[in-house]
Subunit: 392 residues, 2 copies
Amino acid sequence: MVENGLEALVATSPANVFYSSDLCPYGDTFVLLPLEREIEPAIITSISAPIPVVVMSPPWISDVRYFGEFYTETRWAKEPLDDSERILIAAQESWELTRKLNPTALLFEVLEERGIIKGTIGVDESILPKSHIFWRQIKERLPAIDAVPVSRLFREIRMIKTEEEIRRIKTAVKITEKAWEAALDSAREGMTEKEFAYVYESTILKEGGRPTSHMGVYGAPIALGRRTAFVDLAFPSDYRLRRGDLIRFDGGCSYIGYGCDMARTAVLGEPSEKQKRYYDALSEGVQLAVEMATPREMASKIFNAVVERVRDAGIPHYRRHHVGHGWGLEGYNPPLIGPRDNTELEEGMLLCLETPYYEVGFGGLMLEDIIVVKKSGPQYLTQFNKQLCAIR
Amino acid sequence: MVENGLEALVATSPANVFYSSDLCPYGDTFVLLPLEREIEPAIITSISAPIPVVVMSPPWISDVRYFGEFYTETRWAKEPLDDSERILIAAQESWELTRKLNPTALLFEVLEERGIIKGTIGVDESILPKSHIFWRQIKERLPAIDAVPVSRLFREIRMIKTEEEIRRIKTAVKITEKAWEAALDSAREGMTEKEFAYVYESTILKEGGRPTSHMGVYGAPIALGRRTAFVDLAFPSDYRLRRGDLIRFDGGCSYIGYGCDMARTAVLGEPSEKQKRYYDALSEGVQLAVEMATPREMASKIFNAVVERVRDAGIPHYRRHHVGHGWGLEGYNPPLIGPRDNTELEEGMLLCLETPYYEVGFGGLMLEDIIVVKKSGPQYLTQFNKQLCAIR
């Protein structure tokens, strides 16, 4: 905030709200973080769903203001009550006193109450309730405030991971690796992609993770045979596994809001000469990316060296738009290890490093590892065997 | 479009893109639907992820334009190829010819190409790439076009369900009911909420559905004991089921993009007098809502009658902000069966009708049914026993 001349930050997107407050929002939510330590932060959230949200993921910020309309009866609650029940009672009672309906009006009220009425404030514009009128409304209500968009600043801040974030992503990786191992153990000729994906996903559930999916439509990011050429979003099909088929997964699961993105490839039976040669070349690329991922190295420099290495090592026609990326609450995050990103790496950045290769009629091969950039050398979060796994 | 004087509609949010095109988007996507039948519709989507998206959920629109950067090698592909592989080759080759990077510029190009250069067009503003500059850019590039926001219009159109939408939601309901039945069958004293939720969620996966969760943080919308007072978003905990405890679930699973929202309540052992009396009153309310949900009935009228009925039937202090809502691709959808919604119901609307009651220290009770409004009387999608289920 000091560097950017900001009096306060306002988070609005689910990722930025969760990051700034520990509260996992459901519906419109603002988190106000003032620059001055003497000014108290605040959360503005809906009374309808966030009662359980606040109860279940208690934020570190104690001033929570509710808007909307929702009824939970608290009149007959008698001790002994547990903490969750007490929080719920306090939330419901505070809302019943004010019964505000509009989150934006409540935000402006809290800003005034805090004395944040002039200077520049940063508003996360990525998912802003009533965005088309917000900027005009704040100008009208608080004319001496200059509100500027800061979703990019939030992304920059989130590039460097805290210990707790690394711990959660590591747990997501462990669960994913167990699920992949269980799926590989179950692999046999004639098994369908759907059956294989079910072993993978139900293991994730059993281990306390959540299978990640897209609009509820996609299944596990797993493919068999020539379908491995279809990037990372395959819908599991009725295709049956054959001898010599590639088996590829790319993605993971999530754990307390944090997912992971890793990939491994296997073959049912002995790999062919081409499968082996290509995989080894790709794997050399990832190895070089990991070695180069040190503080002050430039993203684009790593990209160029890695593509060159894969070409030299066995895939002379190799083309790729990036060989890795940051990762966090929103999934893909900066930096991008690509040709036009000149970000210098820093201690504490978490990177997913990968050199996928997709060829129609042949399949897709890849290794993707997750590391944290450290002065003392890369800290691997992925532990699973990095070889092209041959399943007997 | 005719009613609203629109020359074309542009869908941008995942729900509206999926609804208009059958394409399940990944990243920025536009769907252009011109008013005139002679003008061809178009999809603008990213080459990086949507290759598999287009392959896996083929849209009915054949003119798909790609932007971005992604490489899949197609040079060595030889027949026999399957349809997916052929689509993928065509997509990759068409992108390699143009290599456009910017979706918005590509949209403007397609509008010009189609001769849509004057009059009013409706742009779904709900999730618009680079929304803060979009409106200025379209004004600059196509000055005779008047672009207006239409996310509300999309919501109105989507209130009436197609047969295919009802079929998918019905399948989601069936899967949810199987999972709830399996969870109830497994219920025993001392079982944790997490164990109970695992039976529910793994059954959903096995039946081909996707457990719905929120930011990957939430588990199944299931609660035991006094925790049933925590609305619908409980994180499954280590709480152990006791005799006399309420067991409540509220939500469902999704199937090919369509979820469901239903609820049932059970008790381990014999229900108490209060549990029984309250449940019966709530259940009478839902029954009345279903009876009243006929074409031309007003949402607010149903609300008032239902709240009155629950009060008369056994919960005199009953308070509620709505007793039902529409449901669709985005989850909650209009109409809201609440005090301020004067929508007149229409044939083909799908409604989730519910009268939840939450009391701290006691618990939460509810029945939620899903129906389609029909002239001939309500078509129930939920089939599971509507009684307060007593588990022996």
